[in-house]
Symmetry: D2
Subunit: 268 residues, 4 copies
């Protein structure tokens, strides 16, 4: 399956603002690209590409006064298969986890592992370890939290999701990630493209999506507490501890979003 990916994101800025964009396909998927995956910045400014400590491809530049657009259009080959289920995957004792994975057990800005540990143990401590426990977390979050665009807010933490029970995709994943870490299952936040492939068309404007990954047996597995069903055609952009680390764009100063479209279409 071939999927066309792209975006057109525009900002207005009143004075030059440094920005970091994470708008390239993740290194793990670069071998699948059928066309160049090039972030175009217009007007043309000097850009610097680097890989952050999580392994994501970042681009930074200084947005000049005025309007600036970030665009891209590329094609990626995808297996067309549903997310793999780690049904048989063993939960790895903390003492045997690869050292680089341990950071994904820690608390972060939007994931208060310290504050939700008791709740996690009470809710999920009786479930069989491994994939079943992760699935129980996803089921709980999916059932208990109501999706609502008007209730989006950038400061909502996992504890806020737990108490307010409402949010957008990032909120679902933050709470699920936190519960998993509380249960000593490494979990990381993921962001990327997720089109309406193999599912009814949602009718809402296409956007980037958030999901998360857990480490079981010997690798990371895709999970999604918002949709809570295997999906086709996720294309990973970036992973990190939480939304702080993998924002599509981070502005170090004021920038007003003026336009935002994302493309994720199957190429027939």
């Amino acid at each position: 399956m071939l999927i066309r990916l792209g975006y057109d994101i525009r900002f207005d800025v009143d004075r030059p603002v440094p920005m970091v964009a994470i708008l390239n396909v993740h290194p793990d998927r670069r071998q699948d690209l059928q066309e160049p995956d090039r972030l175009r910045v217009d007007p043309s400014v000097g850009t610097e590409e680097y890989v952050d400590s999580f392994g994501n491809i970042c681009t930074r530049f200084v947005a000049p006064t005025g309007s600036i657009s970030l665009t891209n259009s590329t094609v990626i080959r995808d297996s067309g298969e549903l997310d793999a289920a780690g049904t048989e995957a063993r939960e790895v004792p903390v003492g045997e986890l690869p050292p680089g994975v341990l950071r994904y057990l820690m608390a972060s800005r939007f994931c208060e592992v310290d504050l939700l540990s008791n709740t996690a143990a009470e809710l999920f401590g009786g479930t069989a370890p491994g994939w079943a426990r992760v699935q129980a977390v996803c089921d709980w979050v999916h059932q208990k939290v109501t999706f609502s665009y008007p209730h989006a807010r950038p400061t909502r933490t996992a504890l806020d999701v737990y108490t307010e029970r409402v949010g957008v995709c990032r909120d679902f994943q933050h709470l699920a990630v936190t519960f998993c870490r509380c249960l000593n299952i490494p979990a990381r936040y993921a962001t990327g493209y997720l089109g309406d492939i193999g599912v009814p068309v949602s009718g809402t404007p296409m956007d980037f999506s958030a999901w998360f990954e857990v480490y079981l047996e010997d690798r990371w597995w895709t999970c999604d507490a918002r949709h809570n069903a295997p999906r086709i055609g996720r294309v990973l952009l970036a992973t990190g501890l939480d939304a702080t680390d993998v924002a599509i764009t981070t502005s170090f100063g004021s920038a007003r979003l003026s336009h935002f479209t994302v493309t994720t279409d199957v190429v027939s």
Copy 2:
């Protein structure tokens, strides 16, 4: 100047608990060691040493049921000089910072950069950029927050410090780190040995200490919002985004601290 360093930390555990210790001198100071810097775990258990994504030396092991002690005694050569002041150090525009430094502008578990940005701008926006602004942050935190051991608590965030105005050394540094990041000055949390060298003996039991570092001109500079005065003889153990990343020990399960002594003495 030679400083003898050491500790004797003991836990009781009821069932095997995986632990990570950051109890070796930071790689930046290893060339100053005059004796081996070896974390001894007793009873002897298999340990694994690794370097985390922040560059700290970590040791992990599984504490068996019963009592376990972590001990060390070593000697380090120190310049005997006070912390350097970056008075002339230029504040680097975000667009010119080394990519690896950008993460130290982001929010983290105990540093809600997003929530304190306006306050930081109001309090410090009128100060000259660079070292003077960092010094203004340290002065403010030092004056406004009252040091109090009985008020220590592990869940206090920078925003809590801002509202409660009380805390221990980690709290002072969390608030100062957060304000610096809000002002687009990279800041990281540091932990290490800090003896009563060149200052009146404090009378309280020796402990590890927290301070922080800011990135100005072309390097990291030591700051300390708790003491707010240059000190002699800091020996760095670890740096990270906040206390989450550089806990002396992190237990993935229940472990009761039963003994805790730290040594930091000038060798005459």
Copy 3:
């Protein structure tokens, strides 16, 4: 000046839900009513009217399964004058306040007086006491907080307003009320009718409005941190410690709002 007041508020409920409505003009303004001020509940259910501990007229009933509407239409005589300014009003030392006023110095659900005291002292401690200090509070809140309907949320506290700097009218008043209490100036939250009288028509659908009152000299004075300008034609419904106490309707169970219109028109 005569003002026609009214509303049409409808809910859908799936099972009988007890409700309390505060939808009658406040006792202080009843002598100005030109027509009966009668809350009609349709379908007709048994209602009980009582005065709560704040002096507000409350009506309670059990909404039966199905749709229920709360309607009213009345006319009130108004002075047509702008809110009085307490420019000359003396700030009363706490030791001389009437005992019944002291509760309006305390913390409440949305007004964390304990957490914002230091900030209030730092921001307003240098201002002359009394009306000037209240005005400084209103000016600050008005300038620093951005009005935004999409950012409304029912759980936002004064501290959240202070950090997020965005909100709707209740948020402006909560922060201002909290600052006043921190400064030992009694303040209470108010809700009522406020039409576009003497000001350009806002263009947004009419709603009830929130403002607040401070106690200076020997009485309560009207303040409004959202509009921050004297207005004509406020008609008070209720006062309380914060929005918790004076919700237009409180449901003890699930009720979905299906329709909401408010009328506040000058009768020519």
Copy 4:
């Protein structure tokens, strides 16, 4: 049974500070007093006694610069019986509660009813209504929260207790009160004398104690999530929405506690 009650509370103040004390036996128990219940303030200052909106006897005065002591010694007759259990008491539907009781269903500073409603429903929704449900709340809080004087802090809310699982008596009651209100059971916070009568001597210095009351059938019943067992000899001082309303002393300015003893002894 006769119980001698008393206290000796002293403050140092640097400048005159208005204070409110709630240090008289509650009106409901005044008929049991065998000696005058007189709050003595030394040095002698003008005091004013009033009854607040919750029905508590309050005394206010301005503490002059220097040291001030609040003392009392009285004797009360007590039934010597254990707290009554409302085992047979019916839970009253909200629609039938006396109007004056409805306020005890609302959120307050330390009781975030709005934030804990879902959790309360999940934990206790399956329990039989009435006393059994209240008992389930007390059992849960008693088992899940660890008592610890060193972990006392004045800003801890019910949600904080829920996440931190540690606290002193006020914290236990705040969480239990909140859960009850979430379940539509009116609950109010209570403070008073509670000696070691009929129980082993605790060994810790005597203090005032907090408990709470729920409204079932036709009256208020005593509950205590900290001790979670019926006790002998409670003497009520005050009730309110939470600790904000019934602080033993509230200072409107800085006052340092220098001495604190409480007496609650059976007179043999």
